[in-house]
Symmetry: C2
Subunit: 218 residues, 2 copies
DNA sequence: GTCTATAGGCTGATAGAC
DNA sequence: GTCTATCAGCCTATAGAC
């Protein structure tokens, strides 16, 4: 794959780092927008203001750039979600926080929900082995909280995986479809008001905590 | 676009219809699996057991085939969901039925959830003008029911669009990610049991109806 | 590290025989 | 309607100068 630069990145010049960073940032945008096959390395290089050949030099090719981007994106999301780990709050409260943190990630990194969705849709076709752990890590946060809530009796005895799929499905769908939805609304094709993130967060929080609550647990 | 065949389809031979049908069926599979850019017309023709040139003859090209597939897929889903329109059941019960009908569509047409997701992800980049109405139609069913439930006081005063996004997001995510999830579980990489559709349907039904219920309504 | 130029492969579409 | 043969364009990757 990438031969020299990976091993001597500590010696890399300031310009070199700038080139790498520009390719990572622009590549994230374009891969999220168009998918692996739709994204063209020429377009990435051009928008990044960098020579096309630099993708091969720094990342060993299109696939290498994509892998580097997935690693960065998923690792960052995992790290953001980890602030909830081992906290003392109630399972109910932790689930509310989870939704907020997730929304925060999606706001800061708009490409993240789309990348997740594209990967699961294509069955991980372009996902390197090394990325799988941090990808799967994304799906442990809900499970832990739900298991605790069920054990402590504040939640109904729900299946953690189903809970996770329903919750994350809502989140990922809301954020990944945002630009399309807002365009349709702006063009008058979808008769509704553009929903704001805070409102959606509250909606999902209420829906989830009420939906999971054991009767007589409010 | 497609010159003759569209106008004289009523005169088409049996073989011609078989060719068209094979391309539609196989194209649906492959487009859902790989997306518009990932799908190659050569692969579609080969798996369909049909000559590559037939895609251009019958559909005017790759884009034409894709448009025909979207039309068919969305129209069928809309028609299946329409059985719920104007029914006498409670809003609560209608929402439960909605989830069941949606799951039924996804079981019969596994490509449907993926096609919806790929389209919203790419901002409708490959969606023909003519398909937009039937696409938007997909998003009216929940709205009607929720508005009624809120009006009648069985639901909390929730935003119909947010409710729709959360509910359909859960559904589409569950079904579109199914094969990937099941593969990961089978390979032992995701420690969980493969969830069955019926269980997911019940989970979402409970989550939604409890989550939307006005306090002291059940 | 960065650039230009180009090789080499693949893809979608068409021409024309049957 | 269907098939074969083929073309033109695009896209990734590399060789080699600086």
């Amino acid at each position: 794959m990438s031969q020299m630069p990976v091993n001597k990145r500590h010696r890399a010049s300031r310009d070199s780092e700038r080139t790498r960073a520009a390719l990572l940032a622009t590549g994230t945008e374009i891969f999220a927008e168009l998918g692996f096959d739709g994204a063209k390395v020429g377009a990435i290089a051009e928008r990044a203001g960098v020579n096309k050949a630099m993708i091969n030099y720094h990342f060993g090719g299109k696939q290498g750039l994509y892998t580097a981007i997935l690693e960065t994106t998923f690792a960052e999301a995992n790290s953001a979600l980890s602030v909830l780990r081992g906290r003392a709050e109630s399972a109910d409260e932790l689930l509310r926080r989870f939704v907020e943190v997730w929304a925060g990630i999606a706001e800061r990194r708009p490409a993240f929900p789309a990348m997740v969705l594209r990967e699961v849709l294509s069955g991980g076709r372009h996902m390197d082995q090394r990325v799988l752990p941090s990808f799967l890590g994304l799906f442990e946060h809900v499970r832990e909280v739900v298991e605790r809530g069920v054990r402590e009796g504040t939640f109904r005895p729900v299946n953690p995986l189903l809970t996770h799929l329903a919750l994350v499905g809502s989140l990922v769908f809301f954020f990944a479809t945002r630009s399309f939805r807002e365009r349709l609304i702006r063009e008058g094709k979808l008769p509704a008001a553009i929903p704001d993130t805070a409102g959606f967060v509250r909606h999902v929080q209420e829906l989830t905590t009420r939906g999971l609550a054991r009767e007589g647990s409010p």
